[in-house]
Amino acid sequence: MPSRRFDQARPFLTLGILVAGWLIMPGAVKSFLRASFFELTAPVTLAASKVRDLQDFWALRSHSKTELIEAGRDQARINASYEVAVQQTTELKAEIARLETLLRLPSRDQYRLEHARVARRDFSAWWQRIVIRKGRDHGIPVGAPAVFSGGVVGRVAEVHAMTAVVELITSPGVRLAGVVEGDSRPISFQGGSNPAFAPPTGIVELMPLDIIASPTSPKRLVTSGYGGVFPPGLTLGTIVRAELGSDGLHKSGEVRLDERLGSLTEITVLVPLEVDAAAPVRSSP
């Protein structure tokens, strides 16, 4: 009878021994295994992403010439307005450089823009991440900020050979400092709950009492530039509700984030130039 009982418990004993062995395994071995398993599955992610691109390509090929001509015309208009903006930016940059030289100020953080396709989106209740199709080969460092046309996407959490993982600002674990546009006092922003079939939201805390925000008069929340990761002035979202916090000294509220964060296909990683100078980078296609 004891032998039969032991036979019944043997699978669990085997698993228990394996788990115990795993727990005492050195962290370096686990890190190596984690990286190996990620790289093992990376080709699946990349192949699926390329197939999706091919699908989009064939779908676009089916458009009529009239539609393409119309799209080209619209694109030309957008390009014209961007060209004006580029000229203005160049002038402003030259002005900033001149003032920095005159006042002997340290130069602002400078970044190289690395555009990357999104290979995979992975949004659960516990994490919100995307995998992009550029990694260490393109000089992307851990912690680099990622942006898109609507503002901040998040920051690079992991970098692998040909891919990188970006943790989105919608992720409940993300915290960063923001300011209300036109104000200089920092506010704590945190990724919030992301209910199904609804736009993502975040929460703000430690907001000064004089800031009033409501759905009818929302306030734009931008990055503060404190902390050294995100440059100042990038859009985080819109504060749509502000209520007195439990401590009575600050307000807390809700931030509505850009809906497009849920369907990103391309983002831009801001690679700090100091990092770039330290490591050789493969040229972007």
């Binding site: 699978p11 686990k30 398993f37 949004f123 709950s193 209910p195 199904a196 993502p200």
Partner: protein, 172 residues
């Protein structure tokens, strides 16, 4: 343990992982999440020898762990535990019945999902309506995919068993 058997057990699991990530990519615009842990575990635990089954579970679990921001080994340990539980009671479950297999995959998926909820949001940090929506979505998709995945795995197993039988015959 035969390495060829292990490789052919892991191949459909890798395919399943790929499909799961693609489905999650599509569902992300609706803020939904598909968890298919039950499919990883159910059919292998029901039909395969203990050693090969557990090894395949641990490999699949580690592949899932490498792609999720959880402690490395969490999926592997939970898949291993679920595999052992199903393996322990598999004599009471009909192996060739598609309905029984699907129900087993659903129950296993439900159990694993609850285990992840307990591990990843111990203080109730994740909102319950979102978790409920994810669970319903996962269960529906698991129910739809289970018969196909069982057939795929059974084809792979037949393939490996035929290859092993031919090899044994040649050696004789």
């Amino acid at each position: 343990m035969n390495l060829r058997r292990l490789a052919l057990l892991c191949a459909p699991l890798l395919l399943l992982w790929g499909i799961q990530t693609e489905v999650n990519h599509v569902l992300s615009s609706h803020q939904l999440f598909f968890f298919s842990g039950g499919l990883f575990v159910a059919f292998i635990a029901l039909t395969q020898p203990f050693g090969a089954g557990l090894a395949a579970m641990l490999i699949a679990g580690l592949a899932c762990d490498a792609n999720a921001p959880v402690a490395f080994g969490t999926h592997a340990a939970l898949f291993g535990l679920a595999h052992n539980i199903v393996h322990r009671m598999r004599d009471r479950i009909p192996k060739d019945d598609a309905v029984a297999g699907t129900l087993l995959a659903l129950f296993t998926n439900f159990g694993l999902f609850l285990a992840f909820v307990a591990i990843l949001s111990p203080g109730g940090a994740a909102p319950l309506p979102r978790l409920a929506a994810d669970l319903v979505c996962s269960q529906v998709l698991v129910a739809l995919a289970a018969p196909w995945f069982a057939a795929l795995q059974s084809c792979c197993i037949t393939l490996v068993e035929t290859a092993l039988a031919l090899r044994a015959e040649r050696l004789r």
